[in-house]
């Protein structure tokens, strides 16, 4: 039974939300989610690549010979990743500096190759676009929430884009708990595993009820 476009879109938001449900693409989620801003930037970059590559893979799926399909997917994905990299250099240089090497690494993000192989190569253009958009937004939400949690616990504040949009942090935990001491552990690499584990645990709890 064919699922509707809406279903293809919404499944990425909860049922198959990466990386919590799919547990794919852990490299960026562990590497860049030190702050809400980095998580958002990475998520949006990945979403763009995901939508574009899903569209193109789906468009070309009848032309691509199955023996070289992975190579073709990688060419398509890599092209869009470099597009993102050039665009970020030109228009969002500060975020580009923070994300650094993780931008080119989007090429090998399993979420994108996974969607190309598992979905876009077998489905039409519209469902593929919906799938890319849903998974992309889900990925962005996960990265942003994980980044947000780590930033609040690790630094005690939450900052988005900074000036000119907001002056200073938009949220400071010290306003609620004046004696709160930020634990820097959370913004370092092991904190990513702890935060990710807790998020997975929380999601499973909600599911089991």
């Amino acid at each position: 039974m064919a699922k509707s476009i809406v279903q293809e879109f919404t499944k990425g938001l909860w049922k198959e939300i990466p990386p919590f449900r799919l547990v794919l693409g852990l490299c960026p989620i562990l590497g860049v989610t030190t702050s809400l801003e980095n998580g958002l930037g990475m998520g949006l970059a990945t979403t763009f690549v995901l939508i574009c590559s899903n569209f193109l893979v789906s468009l070309l799926r009848k032309m691509i010979p199955s023996k070289v399909r992975i190579a073709c997917f990688i060419i398509i994905i890599a092209t869009f990743v470099i597009v993102v990299e050039i665009m970020m250099k030109a228009f969002a240089y500060d975020i580009f500096l923070k994300l650094g090497v993780f931008i080119p690494l989007i090429v090998v993000n399993c979420v994108i190759l996974g969607r190309a192989e598992a979905f876009a190569a077998k489905n039409g253009i519209l469902p593929s676009l919906a799938d890319g958009l849903g998974i992309g937004i889900g990925f962005t939400l996960s990265l942003a929430s994980l980044g947000g949690i780590r930033e609040i616990l690790g630094k005690g504040t939450l900052t988005v884009w900074g000036e000119p949009f907001f002056t200073g942090p938009i949220f400071s935990i010290a306003d609620i708990f004046p004696k709160f001491e930020p634990f820097g552990f959370m913004v370092q690499a092991p904190g990513a595993f702890v935060a990710l584990g807790l998020m997975l645990c929380l999601m499973n709890l909600m599911e089991s009820k």
Binding site: M63, I64, P65, K67, V68, A71, C72, I75, I76, A78, T79, I82, V83, I86, M87, K89, A90, F91, Y93, D94, L97
Partner: protein, 197 residues
Amino acid sequence: MNEMLKMVVVLTGLSLVSGGVLSYLEGSLKERIENTILEKVQAPTLRQLLVGSENDPVADRFKIGSGKDEKSFFVGIFDGAPNIVVLEAFGNGYGDKVGLMVAIDVTTDKIMNVGVTTHAETPGIGANAKDDPEFAALFEGLPVGEPILVKNDGGEISAMSGATVTSRAVCVAATSATKTYEALKPQVLEQIKGFSK
């Protein structure tokens, strides 16, 4: 055979289209990217070096050479005379390349001051090359034409403690900047005439 041919054609076609799109994009955004990097990376150091100049050194710049040998020079105007030129050079540091802006007074052929732009050195040790003004001050007044070395290598500069590699990198960058300046001096003098007011 037919399938083989199809694979080759599809892969080649995809690569060609991809290469074409990317080089077009790169070409059309090149200037913007250069300006962004200039504004974010070089401009703060540059303004710090030329504090008190009568012009905007980021706007008053020229290039000598072309292709790989192209060098950007920035001009600082003091007392109405465009006598300071600034150029950037690089040395291999502990983490990555260390970028150094060197301001040279063309009337005396001496270094006016230096400032680190980009680096990936250890915070608190090598990174002091950028953060500690005392280290940069060691380069003030050094004449161009002689290689600049740390004391261990028989030179004048006392290396930062624990950061000999970074100190050497800064010296290499400074030497390379002065060499470039010496080699291109006639063209530099020609160019800066256009900036006098």
